[in-house]
């Protein structure tokens, strides 16, 4: 077996390379498409031009949709951070009898098809008169944002013993002080990463946005989807490329935060 190793390693490396290409290549296809000189989406693209980016910038519909996405994504992230963190605290540090059941319920929206969620939320929002408002989308996206924050904060809380909080209390910190001075600095990277993931999931989300938003509140994915069925020009590829770049930046931030928290044991505090 040991003598085989020099042979086995390059084979494994090649296999891993193929899988990685399979995973990321479809995403990268939009990049060359967006620089195409042709009037319609085709692969491989012919020529080179940046006119699709210019046309994207010139059309206020795209800017409006971007603003809508941010106005929905940022509150979604904040709301998910608060609720997901509270849930994680209850499950990991609380003395609940049914902690595992609660944990399963909190994660469930991640497994559920968004279309089911959308069908369920639609009449509720209609009844509340929130349909086609930003609030409707925020509430819907928070449902799928909470599990993301819950999972990252749960991991943060499990990475250190609850005796830190007990120590703080014997030293004179009340529950509120214990949370702000000990718990939060310890879990902050987890909360931030969860918040970024919640924002990203809202920013990418189509199904719930289709049901919840209207003409004035439509998000970027919804606009792209509508344009796809109507025009199918490389403008969509240009928009997708920008969304892709933006997501990449956020992913990088999340990875950086995670790396920092694992090397510094929490360190987000001077």
């Amino acid at each position: 077996m040991l003598r085989l190793l020099p042979l086995v390693r390059p084979v494994i490396a090649a296999f891993v390379g193929v899988v990685l290409i399979y995973l990321v290549l479809p995403t990268f296809v939009v990049l060359p498409l967006s620089f195409s000189a042709q009037e319609y989406l085709s692969f491989p693209p012919q020529g080179f031009s940046i006119k699709w980016y210019q046309r994207l910038a010139a059309n206020p519909t795209w800017l409006d949709a971007t603003l809508n996405s941010l106005m929905i994504g940022i509150p979604t992230a904040l709301l998910s951070m608060v609720l997901g963190t509270l849930g994680a605290l209850a499950v990991v540090r609380g003395s609940l009898v049914r902690a595992s059941l609660l944990s399963a319920l909190l994660v469930a929206p991640m497994m559920l098809p968004h279309v089911i969620l959308a069908i369920g939320l639609y009449p509720v929002m209609l009844e509340l008169g929130l349909l086609r408002s930003h609030s409707a989308a925020i509430l819907a996206h928070t449902v799928i944002g909470i599990p993301l924050v819950f999972l990252t904060v749960t991991a943060s809380l499990r990475s250190y013993s609850g005796s830190l909080e007990r120590a703080a209390m014997t030293l004179g910190a009340n529950l509120w002080q214990t949370f702000w001075k000990v718990t939060l600095p310890m879990i902050l990277p987890g909360v931030m990463v969860g918040g970024i993931l919640a924002f990203a999931s809202s920013f990418d989300e189509l199904m719930l946005s289709l049901f919840m938003t209207g003409a004035t509140t439509r998000t970027l994915p919804r606009l792209m989807w509508e344009q796809m069925s109507d025009f199918l020009t490389p403008v969509i590829a240009a928009a997708a490329s920008l969304v892709f770049a933006f997501s990449l930046v956020m992913l990088g931030m999340a990875a950086l935060l995670q790396k920092r928290s694992s090397t510094a044991g929490g360190g987000a505090h001077g």
């Binding site: 250190y160 013993s161 005796s163 830190l164 007990r166 120590a167 703080a168 209390m169 014997t170 030293l171 004179g172 910190a173 009340n174 002080q177 214990t178 001075k181 000990v182 600095p185 310890m186 510094a264 044991g265 929490g266 360190g267 987000a268 505090h269």
Partner: protein, 366 residues
């Protein structure tokens, strides 16, 4: 200095989880400035008792009095006691200095005063240069010394320690035992200390409570517990003991009794407690036994003789241990200080074990 410690009195302290009794109604008084240890196997209730005093485990019934005041309804952060944990529990996002300053900042102490007190405390635990370090840059022993400093910097009159040396290796543990002794002498606070290490408890403590099944089996000084164990569990838990089930006890003169063990050995014991009742055991410590060749002349001070055969001989630094099987089939341990002039016995050799009646203890089985 000792007067700075708080007194602790537990009155009928009880903790039940449903029908499971973690702590049976317990009474205990710890004197101001005393170093008091709780030892016992896991699940014996020692950590439950400590957790109740700290305020993490609300008791089912009973009172916890610190300096005569009941604190059962007082939350942990208002009990003003210090606690040291097995896992150190230093805040990783703060420097060593900030860790020790943490309780002072909560108490709104001025920054000049904080600096003075933290530096003094770090000197007491002999880490004066390490204030700017992060906890993760310190060794386990250093981290626990920082934890000691942090738990004591606000002059709590009671310090709780939950197996503070449990995570350290043996050599470091002995060094830290010395540190903790010095620390106790310097501060004068009352210390309530939980450990499962009987040697550690004996080294550190003024008094020890041995716990079993949610009850205190016996309270006493280390010497008292070793020399006058109240029952077979205490005798076996603190040090080693040869225990023989007693079948019959007869008076033998005015100050001695003759014991017949269940397997038929005859032992002489000084008459002890008249209150002994129920099942009894005879207890002989391994170092109280002398070993001699079979048929050798009786020794003047010895009145109990046990014939047997050497099963095994183990030499460890400074000590010889003979494992002897008696003629009645019981196993007996003899521990001698290794000395050149002592005769040596080989495996299989017939020997006689001898013991004075003063060292043959007649104690309660339960």
């Amino acid at each position: 200095m000792a007067s700075r410690g708080a007194s602790v009195a537990l009155k009928g302290l009880t903790k039940r989880y449903g029908t499971v009794v973690a702590l049976a109604p317990t009474d205990l008084v710890v004197e101001p400035g005393e170093f008091f240890s709780l030892i016992g196997p896991s699940g014996s209730g020692k950590s439950t008792l400590l957790g109740s005093v700290a305020g993490f485990l609300p008791p089912t019934a009973g009172r916890i009095e610190l300096d005569g005041k009941d604190v059962v309804s007082v939350p942990p952060y208002q009990r003003n006691l210090g606690m040291v944990f097995q896992s150190y529990s230093l805040f990783p996002h703060m420097s060593v200095f900030e860790n020790v300053a943490f309780p002072l900042r909560l108490r709104k102490v001025g920054s000049g005063e904080i600096k003075r007190r933290v530096e003094r405390m770090l000197e007491i635990v002999r880490l004066p240069q390490l204030g700017s370090r992060r906890p993760e840059q310190l060794s386990g022993g250093q981290q626990q010394r920082v934890a000691l400093a942090r738990a004591a910097v606000y002059d709590p009159r009671l310090l709780l320690m939950d197996e503070p040396l449990g995570a350290l290796d043996k050599n470091l543990r002995e060094e830290m035992q010395y540190e903790i002794r010095q620390f106790h002498r310097t501060l004068g606070a009352t210390i309530l200390y939980v450990t499962h290490d009987q040697d550690e408890a004996a080294t550190l403590s003024d008094r020890i409570a041995i716990m079993k099944d949610g009850r205190i089996a016996q309270v006493g000084g280390p010497r008292e517990l070793y020399e006058k164990p109240g029952n077979a569990f205490v005798a076996g838990f603190l040090g080693e003991a040869n225990l023989f089930d007693v079948a019959d006890v007869k008076a033998n003169g005015s100050d001695r009794v003759l014991i017949t063990t269940r397997d038929g050995l005859q032992l002489a014991s000084d008459r002890r407690d008249a209150s002994l009742a129920g099942s009894l055991v005879a207890c002989i410590r391994p170092e109280a036994l002398a070993i001699q060749q079979e048929g050798a002349a009786p020794q003047t001070q010895c009145r109990s003789y046990i014939p047997g055969r050497v099963q095994d001989v183990v030499y460890t630094a400074g000590t010889v241990r003979y494992h002897v099987t008696t003629v009645t089939g019981a196993r007996c341990l003899v521990k001698l200080t290794s000395q050149r002039h002592l005769p040596q016995f080989d495996v299989g050799q017939a020997v006689t074990l001898a013991c004075s009646s003063a060292d043959t203890l007649l104690i309660q089985k339960e």
